[in-house]
Subunit: 373 residues, 2 copies
């Protein structure tokens, strides 16, 4: 697994059940998956030799994040490594312009995406806004995560402040219409090389500052919308020929349309409640999918809510606070062994209950005891 | 944690959630918990320096098995180490004669135990059998597990064959009446130093050759018997002042009596279904109990069954067989990374279902695909 963050850490926990040795390519010996005891090499994903060295340790190469040079992934594939998801599929998570253009061209079924255009200058942004109105959303074409690289621009001046004068020759940005949203969803789909797919019920995500803070599973949606979301997600995952777990993030607009937001080709924050609430956790499922093993049932045992723990400006002593949070009955706390820098996801709490409201109350109560917010 | 077997392996998986570093005292680098990535030292539990070295790595010393010299545990405690469970409580799992005598003396409430006597010779056994009838059960006073050290003797000759002529000066055995059993149960009780206890619903255990092979959670029992089993288990755990998870194994006789069988002062095979079926797994619970943190709810999400995977005479290629077993919907497979020697527990499968019968069917199907039996 390329990367050794919390997704690799939780994949390692699942791998122990199957006696599968997860080797991770870590950036340091303090990475969450290294601290959880995964086999590791330390290296830089941008250095091909480091990536190739890590790839040589396993039968299948997979990913904890998609910030890996596409060229290096192609080289691994050309060198005979089994890479799942493939570089071709990963590009849908690495290059937002490529993803928008490709998905907009899908038909049978067509997949709706927000109006978009490539942008390399403030003028490009302004030209787009003249057609679609302000505000617009400007996204870095690659490299963003957790809201980094995404900006809502209300005026031409915002675009100039961000992009400066002039412009590059290549579009480094995608500018998109700003939608009036009723909800944001994620649909986790696992797909294995045999073609078998297994899809979890849609998850409702609440974003704060572009970062996912709270999740409800299943999402609060009319059944027809949930069904449509599942169909849409499955059709996208098939079209891009993804292997492994894939998170298909969707917008539900105020006027009831369903549009594709982004794709993540790996286990995903939106699926953390599957650890306790689903027959098969997304981490077990990802292993099964990339190893081309039979996928597990995605049935929910119970409604569930997850609240992310995010570093704040002050000091946080999670170890000291943990016992208090465990006093909330049924709060499942997952700490990632990351130092709590502001805006950084350092853990999550999941709670199961008969209703989403009760689950959310319990998860919020434990989370706030942990972070002191 | 002293010992690095499958219980330590699964405790390590749970410890990752809490960002607790589990250090294990392993006998080799191939031990299950070492292979899962727990921090480890290699040593011999019978060598005090090895035990003390491992103890120095943690804030609290706890156990994956009870085959640790009682004298060494006392020395650790005298040296100021926090040992949970204490050596005094552990003795109830280490010395069957001490346990029988102590528990037989409990009152308010009294706890029934089988008729028993110390035995150091075939004559002692025969004398006991004259009062209680053949067959009798002969148990090594210490050191037994998974049926090792337990013998059912039908005739005086069986006793002579096993014990030879003459006898020691000290009783190395406990001889007990052979009960006509309706069922065997285990009740898992967690208790923390604050005195808080949390008890799981009784588990039904099916023994084959003295080794637990199948478990149903909850046990198939009239509610009144289940309640009595819980009360009995809790009273024993309080009386012996145990800390951590404690498995109280009980006999239900054909004539409806409930008697104490054995105690294990650690997470236990009978509790493996708690990983998936309970709000709090026994491994999370053990950590919480020995760290004196609030205990978690022991509510079941669903009826569940566990089937142990036991090594047989032939070769077993679990890795090759695993994908086939995962084809059984909802089978949760746990492999321990142990070489499959005959009679050795090498993994388990848990399945959840609306009925125990369905859960058992699924767990059996997956287990038999794994072991080829």
């Amino acid at each position: 697994m390329v990367g050794a963050g919390q997704l690799a850490r939780m994949t390692h926990q699942a791998a122990i059940d199957y006696d599968v040795e997860l080797s991770v390519l870590a950036s340091s010996a303090d990475d969450p998956a290294v601290l959880s005891g995964a086999t590791f090499t330390i290296g830089d994903v941008d250095v091909f030799a480091d990536l190739a060295g890590a790839a040589a340790m396993g039968d299948v190469v997979t990913f904890d994040h998609e910030l890996v040079p596409a060229h290096h992934i192609r080289l691994l594939e050309q060198g005979g490594h089994v890479v799942r998801p493939s570089g071709g599929a990963l590009r849908f998570a690495q290059d937002k312009l490529y993803a928008r253009r490709s998905v907009a061209a899908f038909d049978r079924p067509a997949v709706a995406v927000p109006a978009f255009a490539p942008a390399s200058s403030a003028e490009d942004v302004a030209a787009f806004a003249e057609r679609h109105g302000w505000p617009v959303v400007l996204k870095a074409r690659g490299g963003g995560y957790d809201g980094r690289g995404v900006h809502v621009l209300a005026h031409p001046e915002d675009a100039r402040r961000l992009l400066g004068g002039g412009g590059g020759t290549e579009a480094a940005w995608v500018v998109e219409e700003h939608l009036d949203l009723a909800a944001e969803l994620a649909v986790l789909v696992a797909r294995r090389p045999s073609g078998e797919m297994a899809t979890y019920p849609p998850v409702g995500t609440l974003q704060v500052d572009g970062m996912c803070r709270e999740l409800t599973m299943p999402a609060r949606l009319p059944a027809a919308v949930a069904d449509e979301a599942v169909r849409l997600a499955e059709s996208v995952v098939e079209r891009i020929d993804a292997h492994g777990v894939c998170a298909v993030e969707l917008f539900v607009t105020a006027d009831g349309r369903l549009l594709l937001n982004e794709l993540a080709l790996r286990p995903h924050n939106s699926g953390h409640a599957t650890i306790e609430a689903s027959v098969t956790s997304q981490f077990h499922q990802h292993l099964r999918a990339v190893l081309d093993w039979p996928l597990g049932p995605t049935t929910l045992y119970s409604p569930a809510a997850t609240v992310n723990l995010v570093g704040g400006p002050g000091r946080m002593d999670l170890a000291r606070r943990l016992p208090r949070a465990l006093d909330v009955p049924g709060a499942h706390v997952h700490l990632y062994a990351k130092s709590p820098r502001p805006g950084r996801k350092i853990g999550h709490v999941t709670a199961l209950a008969d209703t989403l409201d009760d689950a959310l109350d319990a998860a919020r109560a434990a989370a706030s005891l942990l972070t002191g917010e």
